[in-house]
C-alpha cells in the first residue's frame, strides 16, 4: 500500500514532533522537574508514529511505553501537553496529577497504562471483544516492546484474539532489548513475531527505522483487521541506543553494551534523517520545508514545557482523594 505525499508529510512532521518532545522530556527529567522515571525513545520512535497514524478517534490504542507513548498519542491526534503535565505532577495532567506516568484519554479510546508490563494484552482482547460485540467497526492497536512477549498473558491474548478473530493489531516495537537483557537471550529465534504462526495469526517484519515502511505496514495491517480477517502481528525492528531507563545501567546480562555500536546506530539509523533524505529525493519537501518542520517541532516542545510549568503542582488532600476512589 503506498502513501500519498500528504500522508508522508504528516508522518514526517509527527516524527519530528515526537523526537523533539522526547528530547524535551530528557531535559525536564535531568532538571529534576519530572515525577517518576523516563524511558528515552531515542531513534526508536518511527513505529509509534506509524501505529497511531491511521486510527480513528474511537479505535482503542495501547501505546508502547518507550518515550512513554508520546509518538503514538500525538500521531493519533491527542493533545500531548496534558500527558506531559501529568508527568510533571501538575493539575492540568490527564490523570489530575495522580499517576506520574499514566496516560488517560478515554474520549480518544486511550484508557490508561500500568507499571506492570504486559498488562495491556488481555485488555486489548477486551477492546476487540467489545468491538465485535457492539459491531462498531473499531480496530485495536496493541503496542508493546519485544520483551513484553515473555509474559504469559501475551500468549493468552494471542490465543483469544485468534480464536475469536478479533480486530486487533499486535504491534511490536522490537529493539532487541528488555531492560538489561538482550532479547536473543530470552527468546529462541530471531523474530518475536514468529509466535504468531502458532496461533494461525499472520505476521510481518518491518524495518522500524524506515518511517514510511512502518506506515505502509500499519495501513496493510489495519486493512487486514478491518476486513474481518482477525488479528495480525507486526514486528518493527528498531534499536535502543541508550540505557533502558534514564540514569540506569546499560548492560546486557553481565556485560556492558558496546558504546561504539550504539554510537554508530545513532549516527546512521536516525529515522528522521532517513525520512528527510527520502522526502528530498522524491522532491516531496525542500530543505527549507524540512528545517521549518524541525524548528516548529522544537518550538512546540518548548511551549508544552511552558504550559506544564504554568500549571500548579497537583496536591489534593487525602479527603479529596478518598472521595475519588469510587464513582458516585
Amino acid at each position: 500500500m503506498s502513501l500519498t505525499n500528504d500522508q508522508k508529510i504528516v508522518l514526517f512532521r509527527n516524527l519530528a514532533r515526537a523526537m523533539a518532545l522526547d528530547r524535551m522530556m530528557m531535559r525536564v527529567i535531568r532538571a529534576g522537574k519530572m515525577v517518576g522515571f523516563y524511558h528515552e525513545g531515542g531513534i526508536a520512535l518511527a513505529p509509534g508514529i506509524a501505529a497511531g497514524a491511521f486510527l480513528q478517534k474511537e479505535d482503542p490504542m495501547w501505546p508502547h511505553y518507550r518515550a512513554h507513548g508520546l509518538a503514538h498519542m500525538l500521531s493519533k491526534g491527542i493533545d500531548i501537553k496534558y500527558y506531559v503535565a501529568e508527568h510533571m505532577g501538575r493539575e492540568a495532567g490527564c490523570c489530575k496529577g495522580r499517576s506520574s506516568f499514566h496516560m488517560s484519554f478515554p474520549e480518544d479510546h486511550v484508557f490508561g497504562f500500568s507499571g506492570n508490563i504486559g498488562a495491556n494484552f488481555p485488555l486489548s482482547v477486551g477492546y476487540g471483544f467489545a468491538a465485535k460485540y457492539k459491531q462498531s467497526g473499531q480496530v485495536v492497536m496493541n503496542c508493546s516492546g519485544d520483551g513484553s512477549y515473555g509474559e504469559g498473558r501475551c500468549h493468552e491474548a494471542l490465543l483469544m484474539s485468534a480464536n475469536w478473530k478479533l480486530p486487533a493489531v499486535f504491534w511490536c516495537e522490537a529493539n532487541g532489548m528488555a531492560q538489561h537483557s538482550n532479547v536473543k537471550d530470552l527468546f529462541p529465534g530471531p523474530n518475536v513475531s514468529s509466535l504468531a504462526a502458532g496461533f494461525g495469526i499472520p505476521s510481518m517484519v518491518v524495518d522500524g527505522q524506515d518511517l514510511f515502511a512502518c506506515a505502509e505496514a500499519a495501513l496493510q495491517a489495519l486493512a487486514h483487521v478491518r476486513q474481518g480477517n482477525g488479528p495480525i502481528f507486526v514486528e518493527c525492528k528498531t534499536y535502543r541506543v541508550q540505557e533502558h531507563s534514564v540514569g540506569g545501567v546499560n548492560y546486557e546480562g553481565p556485560n556492558q553494551r558496546d558504546p561504539e555500536l550504539m554510537a554508530k546506530w545513532k549516527e546512521t539509523l536516525n529515522p528522521l534523517a532517513l525520512a528527510a533524505a527520502r522526502l528530498l529525493a522524491e522532491k516531496v519537501l525542500t530543505q527549507e520545508d524540512i528545517d521549518q518542520i524541525k524548528a516548529d517541532a522544537e518550538r512546540e516542545a518548548d511551549e508544552v514545557e511552558a504550559f506544564c510549568e504554568a500549571s500548579p503542582k497537583a496536591l489534593p488532600s487525602v479527603a479529596e482523594m478518598q472521595a475519588a476512589v469510587y464513582t458516585a
Partner: protein, 323 residues
C-alpha cells in the same frame, strides 16, 4: 573482630547471598535482568557464581514463580527476585495460593524452601505497582513467612535466615533504604525470623514499625525525648510475628501506635491491633492508634508525601495516645 564496617542495605543483602551460595550449591537466583544488576544487591554475582546460578529470565513472573516452586520440589533452593514486589502480583496464584499452602495440603511431607525478594515502598513518586507493599497480602495467606529489614545489619541476618528456612519466605525492603548504610559484621550470623527488635528504649509509649518507618519512628522518638519517652519496636518479621516482645513493651509503656506503610484496611496494623486487644487489653491505658497509608491507591505525582506515614503523622498519633 567486629570492626565498625559499614555497608548499604543492598550490599548487606548481597553479602548474605554470596555467603549462602558459597555454603550451599543448591541455592540459585532467578530474576529479570539480575545478571546486570538492575539493583546493586545482585551486582557482579555472575562473576563468582556464573550465569547458571544467577539466571536471567524473560519478563515472565508467573513462569518464574512456578519455576522456583518446581525447582524447590526437586531439591533446589531458589531465590526468586521480583525486582519490584508489585510485579509479583502477576504470579498471584503461585505466590499466595500455592507456595505457602502446598506443604499443608499435601500432607506436610515436602517443604518448599523458596526466598522471594522485591523492593517496595511509598515515597518515590511512581505510585501503584512500583510502590505497593505486599506483606499485608502475604500474612493473610497461610504458609508464607514475611519480613522486612530496617537496617543493613538486620538485612544480612534476616536474609541468611530466609535462605536457610525450609518454607517460602517473602523478603521485602523499602526502595528508599537500599542505599542506607549501617554496621554489618563480616562474620556469619543469623537474625531469626519472628524476633522483633527494640530499636530504642522508652517508657511512655510504644511505636511498632518496620522498614523505612522504623526510621521515621526513631526521628519522632528523638524529637520528643524531653516530653515523651518513646520505645521503638521494629517488627522485622510480620509472619511469624513476635507478639510476646510487643506485649512486654506495652506492659512497660501501656500505649501503642502502629505504623504501617501498607493500606490501612485489613493490613498488618489491623492484625496486630486485634491481637493486642485479644492478648493485651489489660495492659493498655489508651486505645491503639494506627498510622497507615489511607485506603486509596498509592498515587504518583507529588502527592505521596501526604499519603505515606510521615514523622508528623506519627508524632500526632503519639501525642494523641499520650494525652
Amino acid at each position: 573482630m567486629s570492626s565498625q564496617r559499614e555497608l548499604t542495605l543492598c550490599e548487606a543483602i548481597r553479602e548474605a547471598y554470596v555467603e549462602e551460595m558459597r555454603r550451599d550449591e543448591r541455592v540459585f537466583m532467578l530474576g529479570i535482568s539480575i545478571q546486570a544488576g538492575t539493583f546493586p544487591h545482585t551486582k557482579n554475582l555472575c562473576e563468582e557464581f556464573g550465569t547458571h546460578r544467577v539466571v536471567d529470565t524473560p519478563l515472565a513472573e508467573t513462569g518464574m514463580a512456578g519455576c522456583a516452586m518446581g525447582a524447590a520440589q526437586e531439591g533446589l533452593r531458589p531465590i526468586l527476585d521480583f525486582m519490584y514486589a508489585g510485579f509479583s502480583y502477576f504470579a498471584g496464584s503461585e505466590v499466595f495460593l500455592q507456595m505457602g499452602q502446598y506443604h499443608f495440603l499435601h500432607g506436610s511431607q515436602h517443604p518448599l524452601p523458596i526466598v522471594m525478594v522485591g523492593t517496595c515502598g511509598v515515597g518515590r513518586r511512581v505510585g501503584n505497582e512500583h510502590a505497593t507493599l505486599p506483606y499485608g497480602m502475604a500474612i493473610h495467606h497461610p504458609g508464607i513467612k514475611t519480613c522486612m529489614p530496617a537496617t543493613p545489619y538486620d538485612a544480612k541476618g534476616l536474609m541468611k535466615a530466609a535462605i536457610r528456612d525450609d518454607n517460602p519466605v517473602l523478603f521485602l525492603w523499602h526502595t528508599n533504604l537500599m542505599m542506607h548504610k549501617g554496621y554489618v559484621p563480616e562474620e556469619d550470623y543469623v537474625v531469626p525470623l519472628g524476633v522483633a527488635d527494640i530499636k530504642r528504649e522508652g517508657s511512655d509509649v510504644t511505636i511498632l514499625a518496620s522498614g523505612l518507618q522504623v526510621h521515621s519512628a526513631l526521628k519522632v522518638a528523638e524529637k520528643l525525648k524531653d516530653e515523651i519517652s518513646v520505645e521503638v519496636v521494629d517488627a522485622r518479621s510480620f509472619e511469624p510475628f513476635d507478639r510476646e516482645s510487643l506485649l512486654r513493651s506495652i506492659e512497660k509503656t501501656t500505649r501503642l501506635v502502629i505504623v504501617d506503610e501498607d493500606f490501612e484496611r485489613g493490613g498488618f496494623a489491623a492484625e496486630v491491633s486485634a491481637q493486642v486487644m485479644e492478648h493485651g487489653y489489660d495492659l493498655l491505658d489508651a486505645p491503639v492508634r494506627r498510622v497507615c497509608h489511607p485506603n486509596i491507591p498509592v498515587p504518583g505525582g507529588y502527592i505521596d508525601v501526604y499519603t505515606m506515614p510521615t514523622s508528623e503523622r506519627i508524632e500526632e498519633a503519639v501525642r494523641e495516645v499520650c494525652r
